[in-house]
């Protein structure tokens, strides 16, 4: 594969990153975009540049021939594969920058832009850029959920809320075929990274303290489920998730075969990704730091940082850099390393009041407010997701905490039983999140915490892309909780997150 000339002046950064693309050695450098059915070999170690350094993806037992592999082959009528939205260069997710680049390179013909969910709504004229604005501007894929809600194992449930559409800027929540009255709700979400999966599947404790039950059991193997997949936790295990992905994103008419399921699951459990080298500070496993994908691959998943290895203590070695070590570094490298190490401490130690956040301030008995830090929710060692099932309402998709965006649908949720503990009887939301899976008004707006790895490769952040960059993430938390970070602390957090 050769890459096509870049003509967009609007994307100088994309162009820069492009020229730095690193691929398999020898001959032509394959493009950083993995198109379906190319038949490339996925090397055991694969590096890609991003604005902050080098992301490394490890395939345990690799290299892997992707020819004929269900993650990489187009399986449905749209010509898409799983890899279309789960790109190695984007930490097995999809950056908005890559989506834009594919639009330019293919003049909108890439299967990524398939009408079903790669456009704002299939009813729109597909050749127009504006019909794909949510994907091109915010990195969002349309997700269609059944209404009334179905739980993670497909069981119908009786919701304790009603849902109405306040506005439908894209046409996918109204008309004869779309919207709650047609039995469908369209929400728009970021792809979540398909890597480091053992952490997302790990079970730390037998209970879900946010729901007040023991963990639900996996319908396939009868074991407790981690509850950490998908923004709305509609898939409790990888099998249910891949069946959902094949039927929707791939528009596959047949079911996946048992052999394909096995290959997909096997692959998902073998792939690890994280930053390996930071542009400003060098390798994240040097000078006493112990981060990077190999450590992730080799560590036990599911540990609670507060009783084991503190979250992001990978960077402890950069807290007090010896004079000898410092002499080997440029002043810029030294400053950056110190900043990352401080960022890890800020993440764990800078306390603030967490308020009106369902999943934390209710119904679990922590109280509203409760004083804690970033690590309260992002508490799993090595990964920064939640050890307990991580459904929490930060307000990213729900008013008044979400940003005012006129290009997303807005729903009015009315609780028919007990009112929501923080919003009351009526809730206005762009995406009810976990409420669409549990059917409970108390869960409306809850979004499952993601992995915090490979962030530099997959902006924007949060399930609806609310934060366009890492500074945007910190700014959101500052607005949401009046944290009072100093400028230095903000920069330290950004540098830390850029190195994960």
């Amino acid at each position: 594969m050769h890459f096509l000339p870049q003509r967009s002046l609007a994307l100088p950064l994309a162009a820069l990153v492009l020229t730095l693309a690193v691929g398999a050695r020898g001959g032509d450098v394959p493009d950083r975009w993995w198109a379906p059915g190319e038949g490339r070999v996925l090397p055991a170690v694969l590096d890609y540049e991003n604005a902050n350094g080098t992301l490394r993806t490890l395939t345990v037992g690799g290299p892997l021939k992707t020819a004929g592999h269900p993650f990489f082959e187009p399986l449905g009528k749209d010509g898409r594969a799983c890899v279309t939205c789960h790109q190695p260069a984007d930490a097995m997710g999809l950056s908005v920058e890559s989506a834009r680049r594919q639009w330019e390179r293919t003049k909108g013909k890439d299967p990524l832009f398939a009408a079903y969910d790669g456009s704002n709504c299939p009813t729109l004229p597909q050749a127009k850029r504006e019909s794909h604005s949510l994907l091109l501007d915010r990195g969002l894929i349309r997700i269609e959920r059944p209404w009334p809600a179905k739980s993670f194992n497909g069981k119908p449930i009786k919701p304790d809320f009603t849902i109405e559409v306040v506005r439908d800027p894209n046409g996918c929540n109204s008309g004869p075929n779309y919207g709650p009255e047609a039995g469908k709700i369209s929400v728009y979400r970021r792809p979540r990274p398909v890597a480091n999966m053992k952490y997302l599947l790990a079970v730390g404790f037998p209970f879900d303290p946010k729901q007040g039950y023991a963990l639900p059991l996996d319908p396939d193997d009868g074991k407790p489920q981690s509850g950490n997949l998908m923004a709305d936790n509609r898939a409790g295990n990888l099998r249910i998730q891949m069946d959902d992905a094949a039927a929707t994103h791939l528009q596959m008419l047949k079911a996946l075969s048992p052999a394909q399921r096995k290959q997909l699951q096997d692959f998902e459990l073998r792939i690890y990704t994280a930053m390996q080298v930071t542009k400003a500070g060098g390798a994240v496993d040097s000078g006493g730091a112990k981060a990077g994908p190999a450590r992730l691959r080799d560590s036990e998943p599911g540990a609670l940082g507060s009783i084991g290895e503190p979250v992001w203590s990978e960077f402890k070695g950069w807290e007090n850099i010896s004079a000898d070590e410092a002499a080997k570094l440029t002043p810029e490298q030294l400053t950056f390393r110190q900043s990352v190490a401080r960022g890890a401490r800020v993440f764990r130690e800078k306390m603030f009041l967490i308020t009106d956040t369902a999943g934390i301030n209710s119904r679990i008995g922590f109280g509203n407010p409760v004083r804690n830090s970033c690590v309260f929710c992002h508490n799993m060692s090595q990964m920064g997701n939640d050890v307990a099932p991580g459904q929490v309402d930060l307000g990213t998709t729900t008013l008044p905490f979400a940003d005012p965006w006129d290009d997303l649908p807005l729903f009015k949720v009315t609780c028919t039983g007990r009112p929501h503990p923080h919003y009351g009887k009526v809730i206005y939301t762009y995406d009810p999140g976990f409420g669409l899976t549990s059917g409970k008004c108390a869960d409306v707006g809850k979004i499952t915490l993601q992995s915090m790895r490979g962030l530099s490769s997959r902006a924007p952040y949060f399930s609806n892309g609310l934060a366009k960059d890492l500074r945007g993430v910190v700014d959101y938390y500052e607005r949401r909780y009046f944290i009072g970070y100093t400028e230095q602390e903000k920069q330290d957090l950004v540098n830390l997150m850029s190195a994960l």
């Binding site: 303290p209 306390m351 922590f366 109280g367 509203n368």
Partner: protein, 257 residues
Amino acid sequence: MKRFALLAALCTATTAQAAQDTAGLVRFVACPVYRDTDAGRKSGCWLTDDRETGKRWDVTESPYKPDWNFAVLVEGKPSANTAQPCGAPPLDPVRTSRLDIPCTRHMIPAEGFPGRRYTLPRRNIAPASVARPVPPGPYAERTFPVYFEFDKDFLVYQYDDWLIDNAVTWIKAAKPKKLVITGFAATEPETVSGVVLAERPEAAQERAETIAETMRRLLPGLAVETKWEVAAKATDEPEADGLPWQSQRRAEIRAVF
């Protein structure tokens, strides 16, 4: 830690009537005040004023803490510990149940009070990966209670999870034929601080079913029956911490052989 449980057990087991005895205990409804102390994570203080006596109490040690937008039902015992890190005498043991009565949110500064540095409560469970010691036999019919917030069926973190974890460990070793789970609700109306309080009768069934679902998940394959009773009476089980009202709001897991 162990000693505390044992002591509590001894005190409450002395007379059957002891649990009904509310002498020396306080119970009132109040809007909570959050004092913004900072001794690290989870170190904020919760204060509540008993309107009838005019006394302010530190209720921070409740396993289910207040929400500053709602009134709480406070139930507790003045602590023997005279230290006042939150600026008021503490109730301990204490419970604060969130009521559906709105309050004006009120936060006050630390005013020099240190708050309490967080320590892991006695009732906390080990990670799933840690093997539980097998409780010794002989095994015979036994009942395990779990407790709830007023009018709720929500499993309380670092309280009910611990009680259930212990029960499940015993049940796994004892291998009973089935479990009978009975939910109770304190449905007899009582007037507290001028507010008439009674749990909904449905709360009894909800508690039974919530705990039954959890037991089915933790002990797949074991037969589970549910029952419920209203007008619950207090018991003198030690893990209700000598608070008769807490003991009424319960479910019982009975292992039958």
